[in-house]
Amino acid sequence: MSYSEKVIDHYNNPRNVGSLPKGDTAVGTGLVGAPECGDVMKLQVRVNPETGVIDDAKFKTFGCGSAIASSSLATEWLKGKTLEQALEIKNVDIVQELSLPPVKIHCSVLAEDAIKAAIADYKRKQQDGQ
């Protein structure tokens, strides 16, 4: 199976690889896995407390090229979005943008799940902090 050019580009030059401080209350961390292949993905967002806008996003993925590309793309899309907008990102958008073949759809689902998990973690922290 051949990867699309966009996947290869994200794979060779992944954007926003790294970590944000997990303990920071402005940071939400999502850690998800795909049981079929055993791949794991960590995605983090930092939310500007004043504006409610995501001002930074990082990821680290141990998995296939499509999972790396999906999470790399997701972090690009997340920056500058509000939490509501971020939750509108769907795996089909990622599939389209990266032209993922059907067997790689689960890799994009992983990225969508990671976004949701990161935002849920952020919201939990805000509630706990009150």
């Binding site: 850690l31 998800v32 896995g33 795909a34 049981p35 055993g38 680290k60 799940d113 990671a114 949701k116």
Partner: protein, 232 residues
Amino acid sequence: MSSEARTLTLQSCRHCGAGAPAQVHFCPQCDRILTLARHGDYFSFFGLPRKLTIDLADLEQRFRALSRQFHPDYFYNASTPERLASLERSSYLNDAFRVLKQPLDRAEYLLKVEGLPSVGRHQDAKELPAGVLEEVFALNEELDDIRAAREAGATPDQLMARLDAARRPVEERAARQEAQLEALFSRWDRQVDEKSSPDVRRATLESLRDLIQERSYIANLIAAVNRERGES
């Protein structure tokens, strides 16, 4: 549907029209081989209850006996439907044997026929026992570091020591999972014997599915560590 209901499902003989229970392979009335029915499952095919603990010697004996009965050579002069039936039953028998003799494949198969396939589900960290994904993630990071150290010229001894240290906690977890798996196998079998309620049995199957998924992460990791060891 319960396993009892399934074994009662009737098939009928294409030749004489007589009915037969699902786990029977030859018509009780005219003795001809029966066309393979769509329902039924690997367990009933072998005449076994849907239990997870299987005596392998007994399974193998059943396999050999059935292979002989279905052997296409015996149907050389038979009618086309019978020849087809013998081929179908032979190939179904081989599939069934391959799956049932491996405990994990057997468990996955049980989940499938009970309507809880284990694949194709994503899960986030909360669904796994505390720490599994974290452990998987941390070990992947350590493997990355070890690769970097190799490239930076670390000695094989140093790399081995790090790999062994990294491997220990996952192997301990793998051993714990093995024990849990055994416990779930016996719990399921007991519930089948005691005809426990569907809810109770379903809960057991759900635990089984979760454990199998958790196990796949750990198995992948151990494979990755072993690959690194091979290269060091």
